[in-house]
């Protein structure tokens, strides 16, 4: 961990979050350096989605502090806006806008948020749609797409905003291996441009390939955090070993 000279771009300290009586996140510390690619994995229901949704304040935490890019998140709408301008997100359920075409889904946010001209926005959108291999679907509506196509639109929509930080919630769940490869290449490329990434994924192959660091969660806590070679080679905790046991026995 020799790169720890910079300030972290995401810093969570002692964060706890409850849904009603149920504590999802338990006094959790988590930080990400600029340009780092962090993979979040762990069993279903362990709080991975909740964790990344806290980073752009789609959920509110009850204890601890969260700072993104040096801005601490609280109720101030101005700060929240600043953070969201820097943070992009791909949702597990895609959340495309059903009343807009694929092209509009990608270009309208560019026009509204980054005040790009219509032409510029559409060109940029088409660039990313081509990257995920669906330029030919640009005129369709989300309701007319297959699952994998929807997911790719969601990825293109977020990427075309060129955020400094990207949050991915299982970005390849609906994708076939070929497309996973494509998305992986795109992500590696973006990381080379210095984009910071936090990615929830269950595909260990993908995790190995893309991650600088693997963070393993269970029951609302971070159990292990290590570079892929170390994590996959010699997991330190029993829980992680058990979890990985299932993966390895499968393939």
């Amino acid at each position: 961990m020799e790169t720890r000279t910079m300030d972290p771009i995401i810093a969570m300290n002692g964060v706890s979050k409850w849904f009603g009586d149920f504590q999802v996140l338990k006094n959790l510390d988590f930080s990400v350096d600029p340009g780092e690619r962090v993979i979040l994995c762990g069993p279903s229901g362990s709080g991975k989605s909740t964790l990344i949704r806290l980073i752009n304040r789609l959920e509110e935490h009850q204890e601890g502090t969260i700072a993104v890019n040096g801005i601490e998140l609280d109720d101030d709408p101005h700060k929240i806006e600043q953070v969201r301008a820097d943070v992009g997100m791909v949702f597990q359920h895609f959340n495309l806008f059903p009343h807009l075409t694929v092209l509009e889904n990608c270009s309208i946010p560019l026009r509204l948020v980054q005040k790009k001209s219509a032409r510029e926005a559409e060109e940029l959108a088409m660039k990313y749609l081509s990257r995920v291999r669906i330029p030919d679907q640009a005129g369709k509506y989300p309701g007319q797409l297959s699952g994998g196509q929807k997911q790719r639109v969601a990825i293109a929509r977020s990427l075309s905003m060129c955020p400094r930080i990207m949050l991915f919630d299982e970005p390849t769940s609906a994708l076939d291996p070929e497309m996973v490869k494509e998305v992986l290449d795109t992500m590696v490329e973006l990381a080379r441009d210095g984009m910071t990434m936090v990615c929830v994924t269950h595909e260990m192959g993908f995790a190995k390939e893309v991650g600088d660091r693997i963070v393993f969660m269970d029951c609302g806590q971070i159990i292990e955090s290590a570079p892929p070679a170390e994590f996959f080679g010699a997991p330190r905790t029993d829980r992680a070993r058990e979890f990985l046991g299932q993966v390895l026995s499968q393939h």
Binding site: N56, L58, E81, R84, A85, V87, G88, M89, F91, H93, N95, L96, F97, P98, H99, I108, P109, L112, V113, K140, Y141, P142, G143, Q144, L145, R157, S158, M161
Partner: protein, 230 residues
Amino acid sequence: MDFDTIRLYLTPLLEGSVWTLALFFSSAFLAVAVGLITCFARLSSRRAIRTAAKFYIEVIRGTPLLVQLFFIYYGLAEVGIVMSGFVAGTLGLTLNFGAYLAELFRSGIQSIDSGQYEASRALGIRTLQRLRVIIIPQALRNIFPALGNYALVLIKDSSLVAVISVSELMRSGEMLAASTFQSLLVYTLVGAIYFLMCSVISYAFRRGEKNLSIPGYWDGASESSDFSKA
């Protein structure tokens, strides 16, 4: 009942229709605006704003339009706020329909999946644009048939504005019937004109609904089969 008579009768009725349409368009437009604002106030996280919106909605829905028109035209005049009948009528219809539309719009907005809010927030789209570009178009599509109801009620309710000295269609009809003693003929004509207006509005809404339908989603035509097939 020759043509000349009908032509003679039609002139004042058409003049009345112009007023009816003027009332309709001005207050339809304004009521949508008032309805939207009230709806958002009703959904605000600030308690005071929310309570004010609720109060407005409940008072309007708890009293008849006629009383509201009387209050605005005659009541306010007594404290020195004097408006023409047309302005008072537009104001009354606007405030009245605004309250009902506010609740209809709230229905529409609350029927939108929260994922849509989350996605637009995550993209950094700000409140007003989020509403304008993402939420309202989808909400509008959801409530569109019910919105047509209000348009049709508005055109008929505009006849109440007669009490505050606007000679709209219904009042023109009354006067014509009184002076010609041909009430059956006159009211048939009046009814026909209202029905015509209603049909045109209805047609416009049916067309609008088609335009708003999104390929790949519920579009009435394709999914309707749901109700008779298995």
